[in-house]
């Protein structure tokens, strides 16, 4: 590996390492946020919207919520 590659990969390793060391902030928080968004909007609006572009709302959101 050339010196330039070593430098580049050192930076990459450092960034990934730093990201993973604060998993709660970098992975956990966005997951929780998305879950809350979907469940709150689903609960608040779900009963008022019968269908969206030919699909019913529940059927649209449930797979997304399951992904989370």
């Amino acid at each position: 590996m050339s010196a330039a590659q070593i430098r580049f990969f050192s930076l990459v390793r450092r960034e990934i390492n730093r990201f993973l060391k604060i998993k709660r902030q970098t992975v956990g928080a966005p997951l929780l946020e998305t879950f809350l968004y979907i469940s709150v909007f689903g609960a608040a609006l779900g009963s008022r919207i019968d269908e969206l572009a030919g699909f019913d709302l529940d059927g649209l959101l449930r797979p997304a919520a399951r992904e989370v």
Binding site: I6, R7, R14, R18
Partner: protein
């Protein structure tokens, strides 16, 4: 020549003139001290030499490499232990050293060996897996110095390395820095402890208001101002000779 500075001027956008035509030459292998009051331009000079600040005019060369035109080669020759403890709080001690050497292009095996060697020298081996923020002040200071030495620099710049450090560690740092100077590394030290400069440095420069106002060995400087110590020469220079401890007026 380890460091050659010619007519260096640095003017910040705010209008502050931190350096007003500094010229300085440091020979390879020398232990050089840069002294001056707060705000005199010491750190700005160091920042210009390491590419952290761009000079307004003038040239600065590190082992013959222009610090602006050939920044990379110039920077590779320099190890910088900055004044503030600029460690990454999320990394462990060993990672700090490893990544730093990586930024300088050192291969993995060499990095590992060098890190082990420095951890041992600075008595940090037992802490190698601890995060840097959990270290004590003295350990952080040692780590900053170890990091500066990771890529085996030919010029080591120490910006107030002993500020806020206990007596024991200060003496330890002095001994180690003297040792690496003896092995051929050029050292540029800025400090407020004149006793430190007197003991360690081959030559000393006084910088005040962005200009080099005196340069020589501590004995030469004391003789030039007709005083007994470097501290008195310094006080003469900044116009505060009434504070001199040699006069015995301010001591009880």
């Amino acid at each position: 020549m380890a460091l050659q500075v010619v007519d260096l001027v640095k003017r910040y956008p705010t209008g502050t003139e931190a350096l007003r035509g500094v010229s300085l030459e440091i020979e390879a292998g020398e232990f050089f001290g840069l002294l001056g009051p707060n705000g005199a331009g010491k750190s700005t000079l160091i920042h210009c030499a390491t590419g952290l600040a761009r000079p307004t005019s003038g040239t600065i060369r590190v082992f013959g490499h222009d610090a602006i035109e050939h920044y990379e080669q110039a920077r590779l020759a320099v190890g910088l232990a900055a004044q503030e403890l600029n460690l990454d709080w999320f990394l462990t001690v060993e990672e700090t050293l490893d990544y730093h050497a990586g930024y300088f292009g050192m291969p993995r095996r060499e990095r590992r060996e060098r890190a082990r060697e420095l951890l041992d020298t600075f008595s940090l081996t037992g802490k190698k897996d601890d995060r840097t923020r959990t270290l004590s002040g003295g350990m952080k200071r040692r780590l900053v110095l170890a990091r500066a030495l990771m890529h085996r620099p030919r010029l080591l710049i120490l910006d107030e390395p002993t500020a806020g450090v206990d007596v024991e560690l200060r003496l330890e740092l002095w001994r180690y820095v003297q040792q690496i100077n003896g092995e051929g590394t050029t050292v540029l030290l800025t400090t407020h402890y004149l006793e430190e400069a007197e003991q360690l440095c081959d030559r000393v420069a006084f910088i005040n208001e962005g200009r080099i106002v005196a340069l020589g060995t501590s004995a030469e400087l004391a003789a030039e101002y007709g005083v007994a110590s470097l501290e008195d020469a310094y006080l003469e220079l900044v116009g505060r000779k009434e504070l001199s401890r040699a006069r015995g007026e301010i001591l009880p």
